[in-house]
Each structure stands twice: as structure tokens, then as C-alpha cells.
């Protein structure tokens, strides 16, 4: 099984490029497509309808979408052991994150009109392939400058120029996908650590105030020690963190978590 992650800022053309890739690969390979997004998306339905391949939609909601992606990857792989290629499209929110895994292929779809490549973090610097999109909007000179800058930021990157409207360049990405080795086991390693996310704001504090945020942090930490941190979903929330926020906001009772309830009985 091959594992491919597509990352890129919103509107960079990830889905369009992925569509052309699925179209080319679907006849000879068993595909699975997982679409991650922050709040809402219908791309998964469009792709399922158009190409008749199994898909799943994962909405991060209250969580950082890239943390969420990392949490969900093992489940997706476990449920799709029979597939040849798993394609994951991330929500692509910030330039800091990179949910790329060492064992798979990381593709950054990079909008040529989105500014200086030097601003980008692991999403670009850790990518195996940089697919530059929207090149047809600017002159050849600027395209060449952009390419040189990308290589300065990520010297190992394979650069492909793609066009989401016509599908040009998708075939070059496919070539790289075919060359990617199969994953050996289900253990993945992130190429880069995620941004740290441990403060009162992560537990849902809204008032910008040193004392309040600390108070919230302590309360959250206390609950964090009680929950199983397995994101099992039995409490009705997608993740333990969301559950903690709801408890602290008074929107849920801590006994909703079967593990806390069990501990209480003991």
C-alpha cells in the first residue's frame, strides 16, 4: 500500500489536482480518498460521485486540523488495508504545520500567486514534491524566479508545474506516486513535530487575561489527566480535548466520559 498526503493553503488547487490524479489511477489501482477540512466540505461527495471510489470526510472542528489528521491516520490505514493507494488531502490551514509522514509521499500544492516561498514552514520545506499551481497566470520570468526560490527553501524537492483547470502536470505527480515504496507496517513517523498546543486557550479560554488563562489551563490539565486521551468518541465528542472544553464551558458533564465514570465508582 502507498500512502500519499496532499497539503497546501486553501484555494491552492489541491482538490483539482487530486481529481486528475484519481481519474488517471482509478482504473488500475484500488484507491481510497480521505478529505480533511476545518469546518465544511463537499469535495468528498463530488469525488465519490464522479470517480466511484470509497471516500471519507474528516472535519477537524475545534481541533487543529493537522493534529487531527495525525490522530486519524492510523484509523484510516487500519480500515483500508485492502487498498493500493491511500490519498489524504489535508485542510492546509497554516504554513507552520506539516502532517507529512516519513513512510509516505508528501506533496505540497503551492499557489504561485501566494507570495514568497521563504514564508513557508514544514508544509513546503518537508515536502517530497512541490506541485506549483496557477503558473499560467504570470510571466515565464516570474515562474522561473519562483522555482529557484522554492529550491532554495527546499533543495531536495522535486518540482512539478500543475494546472488544476486542465490537469496538466498531474501525470508527473502520478509518476512520483508510482515510484513511492509501499508502506511496510502501520507505524508512521511525522517528518516534523507539530506546533505545541498547551495553554489555557487550547482548553477554550476566551478572555485574554494572564490569570484567567492560567486558571483554565490548570482546570483543563486536571481533566486531561482523567480522560483516556484515546479520542474514542464514547462521550459524544470527536476528541478528548473537545470534551474537556465542553466540560469547562459547562456544556457537558464529566461523567459523560465512561472512563471518568468508571474511576469515580472505584
Amino acid at each position: 500500500m502507498k500512502f500519499v498526503i496532499f497539503a497546501g493553503t486553501p484555494g491552492s488547487g489541491k482538490t483539482s489536482v487530486v481529481k486528475y490524479i484519481i481519474q488517471e489511477l482509478k482504473d488500475d489501482h484500488k484507491l481510497f480518498f480521505a478529505k480533511f477540512d476545518c469546518l465544511r466540505t463537499t469535495d468528498d461527495e463530488r469525488i465519490a460521485k464522479e470517480y466511484k471510489i470509497p471516500v471519507v470526510k474528516k472535519l477537524a472542528g475545534e481541533l487543529c486540523p493537522d493534529h487531527y489528521t495525525a490522530l486519524e491516520i492510523p484509523k484510516i490505514v487500519k480500515e483500508n488495508k485492502d487498498k493500493d493507494i491511500i490519498i489524504v488531502e489535508t485542510a492546509g490551514l497554516c504554513l507552520r504545520c506539516s502532517p507529512y509522514v516519513k513512510e509516505g509521499l508528501g506533496v505540497n500544492v503551492l499557489d504561485i500567486t501566494s507570495g514568497d516561498p521563504f514564508r513557508y514552514g514544514p508544509i513546503l520545506t518537508q515536502a517530497d514534491i512541490v506541485a506549483i499551481s496557477k503558473g499560467d497566470l504570470i510571466s515565464q520570468a516570474e515562474r522561473e524566479i519562483f522555482r529557484a526560490k522554492v529550491l532554495k527553501v527546499n533543495p531536495k524537492a522535486k518540482i512539478v508545474e500543475v494546472n488544476g483547470l486542465t490537469g496538466e502536470g498531474a501525470i508527473d505527480v502520478i509518476e512520483f506516486i508510482k515510484k513511492t515504496p509501499n508502506i511496510k507496517n502501520e507505524r508512521f513517523t511525522l517528518k516534523h513535530s507539530m506546533p505545541s498546543a498547551i495553554c489555557g486557550y487550547c482548553y477554550g479560554n476566551k478572555i485574554i487575561d494572564e490569570e484567567k488563562v492560567h486558571e483554565r489551563y490548570l482546570a483543563g490539565k486536571k481533566l486531561k489527566n482523567l480522560v483516556p486521551n484515546l479520542n474514542c468518541g464514547k462521550c459524544g465528542f470527536k476528541s478528548c480535548n473537545e470534551f474537556i472544553r465542553a466540560v469547562l464551558d459547562g456544556k457537558a458533564k464529566k461523567e459523560q466520559c465512561p472512563f471518568i465514570k468508571e474511576e469515580g465508582r472505584k
Binding site: D136, L137, I145, I159, E168
Partner: protein, 267 residues
């Protein structure tokens, strides 16, 4: 290392309806100027794009391009340091927030060209030959007008991306001195492809490719008669430009000044 391009060969693809193009192959040799004509949206730009990308049946048109009768290697397709094809597309916008001088410097670097004294000045000087209002090296790229941007791109292609093949998409639309622009671009021993709606440009070329519904429908060699008609058209155009200059300068146009008589062509 720049390899020499002696010949470009285009193998047929399909049109917008998926029908195969009706020709065996088109050879374009060193020194040829070829125009691509057809209605808006017919697929002229796509044809140029296929050549720029050195398409290998992987573009919308499914055409295949050979260089010197061989399939070109990957590096040649994407690495600007090895790229042999320069293109002037219809997109006239610059996006980088930078001065003209720094921009040209960056482009030289990304092409792997060593800085030669006076080259940047040369690019700007030539650009100013084809535009009305002069560009200064300190001007911000984003503040250039449409015509100035286009002029700078043309001069950049002529002087920085010194490539043996040049693709030009509708040069006449930019409000620049078209003839002068072509003169700067066209140098001995290059292959030039121009997509155009301009009759005098089309008739001045060696060959013209007619495109309809995304496919090539005809290839015509320019006849001697057509070339002489092109001269006549040029003359009319220059007259037209003269009046345009007068209007721009604020002069009052009092009379036509010429009498148009159809010329008789010798058989």
C-alpha cells in the same frame, strides 16, 4: 550546457471533440517564423503551451513534441537552467513587489547566468524602445502599465532567456510598437512561433498553422503574393500609427493625407 535545437516536430493529438488531427507531422526548422491563427478560444495558446511544456501526450490536446527527432528529457522540460524555450504569454501581470532592476537580477540568478555589467541596463533600454512611457530601473514592478510590463517581458525574453525557440502569444494586444518588438526578438537562426490575429504578422511569416475547435485543420506556406500583400498592409499600418502618434501628441488631424488605391500585383 545548451544543446542546439535544429528542429521541432509536432505529432498530432486530438481536437475539442476528441477527433484526431488530420496531419502526419509538422516540422519546424531553425530560422522558421511560424504563425498560429484561428478564432479566439480555438486553441492557439494551447498549441504554444504544448510546445513550451514539450508535451508528451500529457496535455489536453494529447499532442507529442519531438526535439531533433527525439523525445526530450525531463530536465529540459522543467529546469530553467536547461530550458530552451522562452515564452511570452498573454498574461501581462507581474506579482512580485520589487523594483525592475532587482527583478531582472533575480531572473538572471534563477537562470544561472553570471552577472554581466550593463546587461540589466540593456534589457531596460530595449524595453523602452517598444513602449511609450519609459521604464526606470527603480520603478516598482507592480506600478508598470500593461504596455510597459509587456515591453519588459519582451526585452527580458530577448536578452535574458536567450533561447533558441521563442513562443509569442498575441503580441499585438499590448499597445506596444509591434514591429520593433518583433525586430528585437527575432534574431538569426531562431525558431519563432507567434499566435496572432494580426494579418500583416501572419502574412510575414514562413508558414501559418490554422486552428479550429482545439485542433490543427490546415498548414499553409506563405506565398510570394501574400508576402507582397503583407508589405502593403505594413504600409497602411504605419500610416495608421503616424496618425495615432499625432493624436497622442495633441495635434489636430486635418485630412487623410493619402489616397488608397488598390495596387496591381504582377503575375
Amino acid at each position: 550546457m545548451r544543446k542546439k535545437i535544429k528542429k521541432i516536430t509536432i505529432l498530432p493529438g486530438i481536437n475539442k471533440f476528441g477527433e484526431k488531427e488530420n496531419f502526419k507531422k509538422i516540422d519546424i526548422k531553425k530560422g522558421d517564423i511560424v504563425t498560429i491563427v484561428g478564432y479566439t478560444g480555438a486553441g492557439k495558446s494551447q498549441f504554444l503551451y504544448d510546445i513550451e511544456r514539450l508535451a508528451q501526450r500529457d496535455t489536453k490536446s494529447r499532442r507529442k513534441i519531438l526535439i531533433n527527432d527525439k523525445v526530450p528529457d525531463k530536465e529540459m522540460r522543467f529546469n530553467p537552467k536547461r530550458k530552451l524555450i522562452a515564452s511570452l504569454s498573454q498574461s501581462m501581470n507581474f506579482l512580485t513587489d520589487i523594483s525592475v532592476k532587482d527583478f531582472l537580477q533575480l531572473h538572471l540568478e534563477s537562470r544561472g547566468i553570471k552577472y554581466k555589467k550593463g546587461l540589466i541596463e540593456q534589457v531596460i533600454k530595449e524595453a523602452n524602445k517598444i513602449t511609450g512611457e519609459a521604464i526606470s530601473p527603480q520603478t516598482n514592478l507592480l506600478n508598470l502599465s500593461g504596455g510597459q510590463s509587456r515591453a519588459l517581458m519582451i526585452s527580458d525574453v530577448a536578452n535574458v532567456s536567450i533561447s533558441p525557440v521563442i513562443l509569442i502569444d498575441e503580441i499585438e494586444n499590448a499597445g506596444i510598437k509591434k514591429e520593433e518588438a518583433i525586430r528585437i526578438l527575432v534574431k538569426e537562426g531562431k525558431i519563432i512561433l507567434i499566435a496572432t490575429h494580426d494579418p500583416s504578422l501572419a502574412l510575414n511569416s514562413n508558414k501559418r498553422i490554422i486552428i479550429k475547435n482545439g485542433g490543427i485543420v490546415k498548414i499553409l506556406e506563405t506565398t510570394l503574393k501574400e508576402k507582397s500583400i503583407a508589405h502593403y498592409l505594413n504600409w497602411i499600418e504605419n500610416y495608421n500609427l503616424g496618425i495615432r502618434e499625432d493624436i497622442r501628441k495633441g495635434k489636430e488631424i486635418k485630412n487623410v493625407g493619402i489616397y488608397c488605391r488598390p495596387i496591381k500585383l504582377k503575375k
